[in-house]
């Protein structure tokens, strides 16, 4: 109870605590004297798609597993849907959904059997058939999970994660092993869930995925958050200089400018050949790599 009170008292910005889906202050997790998570502060608003990026071993999965209630923390204050995941009970678990990263369970059950079985744990689940349809596995409903491809197996995990109508869904590297088409379909599914008001926490290695889906993202490196923002503004991306390249009289030219408008107006005025013109800003990947590089 004292933990809850201290969380309430730290609210100085006038917002009512508990409105956010996730609030984390000073989270630390130590394994044998080494900090896997070295002080993370995080707020995820309700209805938001929030993405956690970072290299392997950065502490993403540890952080998410603490939020899911799978791991105990060493220190810090954590509220997920208003409760401490380390102590929350089954009513709280009925409100969250977890899509596991590397589960190989239930291999001898069929898709229908497993989804129907897990549906029975929740007070108000979706119909198993509808969820199987939604993840695009209707044709495989009577196949044993053992016989599915890697991407299909992950879609079963997604079905199991959303069967209980979660308010908050955790997705840990969900599209590993998907082919490009399956990834696009999966993204659409995530967008529909978000449109229904589901809060989504996504960890991923794929920067295009984070860019396509996330409202907000944070980059974790060496157990700390090194940058936080929207995909467009992360790490000062929007303010970065644009790189304008074109060919003039057979020579490649490049200029770095904050706003390319004037430069292009001048080029048009000079009658330069603009068929080779390109304007690039740092990609999310460039920004990400420089962020995690800087933290090392």
């Amino acid at each position: 109870m004292t933990v809850a009170r201290s969380s309430l008292s730290t609210s100085e910005d006038g917002t009512i605590r508990g409105m956010e889906a996730i609030e984390v202050t000073g989270l630390r997790k130590t394994y044998g004297g080494r900090d896997a998570v070295a002080g993370i502060d995080l707020v995820v608003a309700r209805g938001e798609i929030f993405s956690l990026l970072g290299p392997n071993g950065a502490g993403k999965t540890t952080t998410v597993e603490i939020l899911e209630g799978h791991r105990r923390r060493t220190a810090g204050d954590v509220r997920v849907l208003g409760e401490d995941p380390g102590r929350a009970g089954s009513a709280w678990r009925a409100r969250i959904g977890i899509v596991l990263q590397d589960a190989a369970d239930a291999a001898d059950l069929t898709v229908s059997e497993m989804v129907g079985h897990v549906a029975g744990f929740y007070p108000d689940p979706h119909k198993a058939g509808e969820v199987i349809e939604r993840v695009g596995l209707s044709e495989k409903r009577n196949s044993k999970i053992r016989t599915l491809s890697g991407g299909q197996r992950r879609r079963v995990d997604v079905a199991l994660g959303i069967i209980g109508r979660p308010e908050l869904l955790f997705l840990d590297e969900p599209t590993t092993g998907f082919d490009p088409e399956a990834r696009r379909q999966f993204w659409d599914l995530i967008r529909t869930l978000a449109a229904d008001g589901t809060t989504i926490v996504l960890t991923t290695h794929y920067l295009d995925e984070a860019e396509a889906l996330a409202d907000r993202l944070a980059v974790v490196a060496a157990g700390r958050i090194v940058a936080e923002g929207t995909p467009a503004t992360l790490g000062g991306r929007s303010g970065a200089e644009a790189r304008v390249s074109w060919v003039e009289n057979g020579t490649a030219r490049t200029e770095q400018v904050t706003d390319p408008t004037d430069l292009i107006r001048r080029l048009v005025h000079d009658g330069a050949d603009l068929s080779t013109l390109t304007i690039t800003r740092p990609t999310l990947e460039d920004t990400y790599l420089s962020l995690i590089g800087a933290s090392r």
Partner: protein, 262 residues
């Protein structure tokens, strides 16, 4: 809670029956051992005039239960921890008890089937007569239940020591096989053992399980072959009950949802 537990028991059983290797190993192996032992030594009779194959049949029920309760529970739990079953369930509102009840239902069903197979071999192959009175069957029921519960609890407790699920079967079979040699299952009567070994073996439940099942399926005269010359059913109940308690305590202390924090 009841519906969820039954649902767990149902999928446990479905998964077990679909794994043919497990089915064959669990049911066929004890039956095969019984056929071999019974055939090799079957022509002889004990001092009490009971054929050795009958003695083996009764004692082997203890082995069957070790197999279906201790080994199945222990390796099943280690496997569930490794393949993500437990992690998955932990992330749902399913109560932890429903998982264990589900496993318990699986173990109970397998143990009943195992006992039926072994008794069937005894009756059909070795002409073992079944007890005709309710009192022997009642004794069978409580020895059977205490054995299944105790062995299951110990299986759960030991599963926490298994680091790699693939090795679970091998690790769990070490105590199973060793105890059978010293508990009067493979080597009977136990009085052939050195005195100290007999005392050590008597600490563990297997001796008392086998002795209890011999009471059920052998004529009363056969008790002269037991240590102390009696069936000692009171001690059977006490030791098995004690192991149920010890096993439950160990479970509460050692049960983990996931593999150890790295």
């Amino acid at each position: 809670m009841i519906a969820v537990s039954l649902s767990r028991g149902h999928v446990e059983l479905l998964q077990f029956l679909r794994d043919r290797t497990a089915v064959i190993f669990t049911f066929f192996f004890p039956a095969l051992l019984l056929l071999l032992f019974g055939t090799i030594f079957g022509s002889t009779s004990t001092e009490a005039g009971v054929s050795v194959s009958r003695v083996f049949t009764a004692s082997m029920i203890a082995y069957g239960i070790l197999n279906t309760a201790f080994v199945t529970m222990g390796s099943g739990l280690a496997m569930d921890r490794e393949d993500g079953t437990l992690k998955r369930l932990r992330g749902t509102p399913m109560p932890a008890a429903a998982y264990l009840v589900g496993k318990g239902l699986l173990v109970l069903a397998l143990s009943i089937a195992e006992a039926a197979v072994l008794i069937g071999v005894g009756v059909l192959v070795f002409d073992m007569p079944l007890p005709g009175d309710a009192q022997h069957w009642l004794t069978f029921a409580w020895i059977f239940l205490l054995s299944v519960i105790g062995c299951s609890m110990l299986g759960i407790a030991v599963s926490g020591l298994v680091k790699n699920a693939r090795n679970a079967g091998a690790i769990l079979n070490v105590p199973v096989v060793a105890l059978q040699f010293v508990s009067g299952v493979f080597i009977h009567p136990m009085s052939q053992l050195p005195d100290w070994l007999e005392k050590v073996a008597s600490i563990f439940p297997v001796r008392w399980m086998a002795q209890g099942f011999r009471y059920v399926f052998l004529p009363d005269e056969a008790k002269v072959q037991e240590i102390g010359g009696s069936w000692a059913l009171g001690t059977v109940a006490m030791v098995l009950g004690a192991w149920c308690v010890i096993g439950s305590v160990l479970c509460l202390v050692t049960f983990r949802w996931t593999a150890r924090d790295k």
